[in-house]
Structures are given as C-alpha cells and as structure tokens.
Symmetry: C2
Subunit: 414 residues, 2 copies
C-alpha cells in the first residue's frame, strides 16, 4: 500500500489565533479533504505576522507534500500573506499585469471602480499562478516548490470555498492515493460518554476506529475505516453501524449529516403530521432549528414565543389559575402551552418549552437550568422535567434538543 | 522591554483536524490568554495519533515557554494524550493512587460506580501533577520540562474551561510580562471591507494595528495596541476609536462584547419601549437572538413564527387580499405583519420578517435571498427590501441582523 500523501493546513489571522472567531475555514477544508481521501495530518495557525507565516510555510514544506493556506490575501494593511510567502521562499513579489486586468474588469462588471488599495491584490510571489475568485476580488494562488504543491486562498469563507470547489478540488481529485478513508457519524442522545463506551464494548472492530465527541446535548460517535478499497471500508462501517444500532436502540437518533431537527421533520412528513410550537425558555430557538430544515414548511405550521405571562394567557390560553398556582415554569404550564398551541393552530402535535435559562429568574424551589417540555397530541398530553446547567445559551440548546427528542420518541412509537 | 513570553496552543482530536467540529477550545484559550496579556504565537492541531502528538510537543518545547494542550484525556480508547506525551518526554506512565482515589470519590458522590475504563484516567506521565476537574472525571495535568510550563486539559469545553479558570488562570496571572496587549472590536453594518478601509484612511495609527474581519452580516474591525503600559495602550485605543466613530457614524453599532441584539435590547430598555416580533423567513431566529440577551424579558414581549399563510391571517390579522394580491413575500405583507403583531401584543414596536430563505420557493419575480423587514410604531409603519444570497442559513442570519439594525436605527432617531 502506498504511503498516504502528507497534507497540511495553515490558517492565518490574529482573529483565529487570539480566539476572536472560530476557524471555520479549517472545518471546511478538513471535511472536504477527508471526502477526497486526503487526510490532513497537521494544522497550524499563525497570526498576521510575516515572520510566523514564513516559518510555518518552511516547516510545512519539510513535512508535507500538499499545503493549503488560507487568510491574509485581502486588500487591507493586515493582509501580509503574499509578501510573507515570497520572502520565505526567497522569491520576488511581482505585479502580475494579467491579474490586475482581471481584477479591474471584475470590479467594473459589478459597477465598482478599482480602489488603489485593491491594486496590491495583483502583487504575487514570482512563479505563482492565480486562481479565479468567483465571489470576490482577491484571486487565490497556486505555487509549486520542490514537488510540493501549495494553494493559497482568501480567508473570507465564501470566497475560499468557491475557489476551492472551482479550482482546487478538481486538481486534488487527480492526485491518486491507494488508500481510502471513510468516516461515519452516529449521533446519540440521553446517554453519557463513559456509559456509551461500556455499552459498546466488543462491537465489531475490524478495520474500524471509534471516537467519541461529547457535547452537552448528546454524544456523537465517529467510526473511521481505513482500507485499500472503498468497498471494504464501507463493509467495515456498515458492520459496526449495525451492531451499534442494536445495542443503542432509540438512543441513536441519526447517522451522517442527520440533525435532530431533520430527523424530526422527516418523521413528521412521513407520518403526514403537522406541528406547532410554544416556546418560553428557548425563546425562538426551537422554531429556528426546525426552520433550518429546507422544506420544513410542510410540517411546521407556526411557533409562538410566549415570553410574557400575558402572551401565554392571551395567545396560548394558559388558564390564569395554572400560572398563579404552579407558576410559569411547571409541568402544568408546559402541558397547557402545548395544548393551547395545538388547538389554535389546528396541528396534530403541539410542543412546548418553559424553564429558567438563567442567569436570573431562579427561586427557592426552581433553580437555573430547570425546564419542562410539554407535548400535546390527539389522545392526550404530557410533560417531562429536565435539569440542565448554569449557562443560558447551553440551556437553550439543551432544551431544544430535549424537546425535539421527545417528539421523535413520540413519533417513533406511533 | 522584556521579550514577550512565547505561548503555544496544541489542540488534539481527529474531529478537529478533519473538520467535524469547530475548535471552540482554541477560541476560548486564545481569548483568555490575550486578556491576560499573553499572546499565543502558534496553534497546532493534530489528530488522535500518538506520533503526531509527540512531535507537536517536541516542536512546541523548542519554540515556546508556555504550552497549553487540550483533548484526548478522556476514558475511551481514542484518548491517547497521556501516553503519547509520556513517550515523547521519555517518561514512564504511572498509576497515581491519589488521583485514582479522587476520581472514585467524585464519581461516588454523584451516585456512580467507577467503570473500569475510567481507571485509565489516573495513569499519568511521571512528574505530572493533577488539576482538579470540577465538571467531570478526567483531571487536568501540569508538567514542567526544562523551565517550560505545560498544561494539559480535557477536550470537553465546559471541563476544560472550568479547570482553566480554577487552576490555570490564577497561576498564569503570576507570570509577569513587561508588555501589555489591548484589543478592541468595533462592529460595523451596512458597509463592505474595501469601502471601510478607504473611509478609515488616515485615522490615528500611533501604536495601533487595524484588522478587518468581514462576515456576510457586517465587518468587524479589530484595533490592537501593544505598549509598555496599560494606560498608554488604552489611550491609543480610545484615540483611534473616537476617530473611527466620527467617520462611520451609525454604521458603527457596537464595541467590544456588544452584539446587535444586546445593543437593541439596551436601547429598548433605555427608552422604556417594548417590542414583539412576527417572523416568517427567519423562522424564530430573530426571537432566539433577542432572548439570548439575559434580561431581555424586560423589553421583548412575544414572538410569532407565522410560517404558514394561515398563521399570518389568523394570528397577525394580515388581510387575505394583501396576501392574494402581493404575496407573502412583499413589502405590504411585511408591514401588515409588523402592525399585526404590535396590535395583538400591545407593544410599542412591532418588527417583522418575510422572505425566501431558499433553496426552494423562488418565483420569476422573487429570487432566493429576497426579504422584507417591516417595522410598526405608534406613528406609522414601513418596510425595507433586501437581497441576500443563496445559502438558507446565511440568509436567515443576514435577515435577523438587518431587522435588528432597522430597529436600532429607528430607536436612535427617537
């Protein structure tokens, strides 16, 4: 079996290194490379600093054959990638007349004149070839150095992605490796990492690596198969998946790109059921997740964010005596909200959330993190109690996941 | 001036390298280090692979004095960090009886028995000290190697953060540097990166570095001041901020940790105004963003996610003739939705969104990305038209941002 090609990603930007934003370009590139059976082995992040950028490139040239670099290609003063790479490679920075022309034409076709700051976009390390940028003005670059292949892409995600798909991916597909990687994600809910690993002891391991990715709202399992051919890798994956499915039953809610909201929308549509939601503590996040699914209008009728008690009474018809006696955060109110939203929207299912997201709002008996999810259907209604944590945003997420999971379990039993 | 201490972050995990999740631990650590005037210079990400983990550590020991490592400390088979580091350092892996005891007690105090897989958590590289994990079972580790300081933390974000705050941050604060870094974020809306850089030509540059972070819903500007003392750095930042404020006027909506939703909630509360929202294309995301703000119940009364035309008519009282004549995605419907939600909730402001988020739903005259935002107030109402892009989730985000910005501008003019 041929040695796999060493692949490295370098992302550039103070904002990445200093934690001001998540490195979504690294996410995109990692995922796309794996899909092409190219396994990144190193990822290095440096700031907008010519010296570090140069050192990162020299290190990557020593240990990797394919190098993908993003960031620092724009027109502003913090964009130093072109000059830093030229310097590290001992090459001159030259004005590429053709690139300058292309940039000017692209701008004019959109009705813009070229700003003087944008001329720097055509200054390239000698020997670099430009890659057309269909989404913006800064072209990508391609360089070959001692049989190492270097691609340099802008940091703006949609520009980076467009150049990658149009110019880089077709070239990479031609770089054959004799080795395939197949990954599959299995998504679980309602079980912790250690308990999961005990439950999965002894599942088929041939050719498979198992890894665990715990999050507050559920643990994702990743299966990785390495093999000489795609067919064998898929067999390994399928065998392990089947065994895991048997052991987990309904704690396993999805595979691959499945999300909880997509699973729920699909089940609703399959059963020709419609749903409306009434949210208090999740504040719109439940409707937001459901409407992230393209085509969700087929099953999702409406959502009510009844943040005030007045809204709970007026729109959802939650009886005043229930609010007075049990409080807004109670099993009884959750049930009344679910029944109310089901009734006013004429849907098959009504789903509700009410809780204390924090940081304020706790009382002696009702701590931050307490939440109830209610479900109303044609034959009745019920609510379940949860105790999440201290973080407002995590509590919203956990409660959305719990609410969707309750609908999922209800629909599975139908 | 003393040389700044070289700081490096190493994050471990196939899921990071292969792009299955964003590296949120890197975000957290970068941000916290900067707050303590410790500037990370390198970030390296490797997979769950003992050889790469070892190489990354050896490289970091050569170029950095403080090394923070996250990931691979858990109890499952993909957790190889402890053994990989021991091997790279040429140290034995020893069972720490005290750590074992602590882990067992912690588990028992929560009513769990110790699983056999969890015993591996107490196998430590010789010389390592454990750091108490208040959120989970895997302790963090601290090692000193040739005057290099190494902290190793679990990959689960809330565990990593808890150990960092409790055990690492207090120790790092004692590591004095003679140099301070101050960063400030200025957040803009309604202006592109190149136009922004032209507009800011010639603003005070003394001691300041400017960087641009463009996103589909607005460009963030970052000001960085390096100085020998905090007072001078703050003066540099304030001077530049003041000049930028003058040039941008209301395109600048926030500074530092400000978010658009926080700015809007604050303005509403300051003006003692209340708001309700009626959403179609944003599907709950607008209410979700507003309710992310702690205390938003003081100004946010309710939200209606009127996904179906029936909901628009029944709850929001959008006249049937408007829906028939102009369609759900129109200026007229946006206005009627905003007026409707204002009326039924008795708030000062009604805000609405309607549009085609995609990928389906476009017609000859109404492309994907078309959206309208409506605002109703005591003296009247209006709507604005937008044309976003092709991506459903980005369109939702952009429309939420546009809607919040319209309220902000309205409130500023009051």
């Amino acid at each position: 079996m041929e040695q796999p090609m060493k692949v490295e990603i370098i992302t550039i930007g103070d904002e990445l290194l200093w934690g001001q934003v998540a490195d979504t370009n690294a996410v995109f590139l990692g995922r796309r490379l794996i899909q092409m059976d190219l396994q990144p082995q190193w990822r290095t992040t440096v700031g907008d600093n010519p010296e570090s950028i140069g050192q990162a490139l020299i290190l990557a040239l020593k240990r990797s054959r394919l190098i993908l670099i993003t960031g620092g290609l724009g027109p502003t003063e913090d964009d130093v990638t072109r000059s830093a790479l030229a310097q590290a490679l001992g090459r001159r920075l030259v004005l590429d007349e053709q690139a300058l022309q292309d940039i000017r034409e692209r701008l004019e076709s959109r009705g813009h004149r070229m700003l003087s700051s944008q001329q720097s976009l055509a200054l390239l390390p000698q020997g670099a070839k430009t890659l057309d940028n269909p989404q913006g003005t800064a072209p990508g670059l391609k360089l070959e150095v001692d049989s190492r292949l270097i691609y340099i892409l802008p940091g703006v995600p949609r520009e980076m992605q467009a150049i990658f798909e149009q110019e880089v991916a077709p070239a990479l597909r031609k770089i054959s490796t004799e080795r395939v990687i197949r990954r599959r994600r299995l998504r679980t809910v309602d079980i912790g990492e250690s308990a999961l690993s005990e439950k999965l002891r002894g599942v088929a391991r041939k050719g498979i690596r198992l890894s665990y990715l715990p999050q507050p709202w559920g643990v994702d399992l990743w299966l990785t198969a390495h093999s000489a051919n795609a067919r064998e890798a898929e067999i390994f994956l399928s065998r392990a998946t089947r065994q895991i499915e048997e052991r987990l039953e309904d704690q396993l809610y999805g595979v691959g790109e499945d999300t909880m909201e997509r699973v729920v929308a699909t089940l609703l549509i399959m059963r020709r059921a419609t749903m409306a939601v009434a949210e208090s503590c999740t504040g719109g996040a439940l409707a937001d997740r459901l409407t992230d699914v393209p085509g969700s209008s087929a099953c999702f009728e409406r959502g009510i964010v009844a943040y005030s008690n007045r809204a709970k009474r007026e729109i959802l018809k939650v009886p005043k005596r229930i609010l007075d006696r049990f409080g807004a955060v109670s099993q009884e109110t959750a049930v009344a909200m679910a029944e109310g939203v089901r009734k006013i929207s004429g849907t098959d299912i009504g789903l509700s959330t009410t809780g204390i997201a924090g940081p304020t709002g706790a009382t002696a008996n009702k701590p931050v993190g307490l939440a109830f999810v209610g479900l109303a259907h044609q034959d009745g209604s019920f609510a379940r109690r949860f105790l999440f944590g201290q973080d407002r945003l995590v509590n919203k997420e956990c409660c959305v996941q719990a609410a969707l999971n309750i609908v999922r379990q209800y629909l599975l039993k139908l």
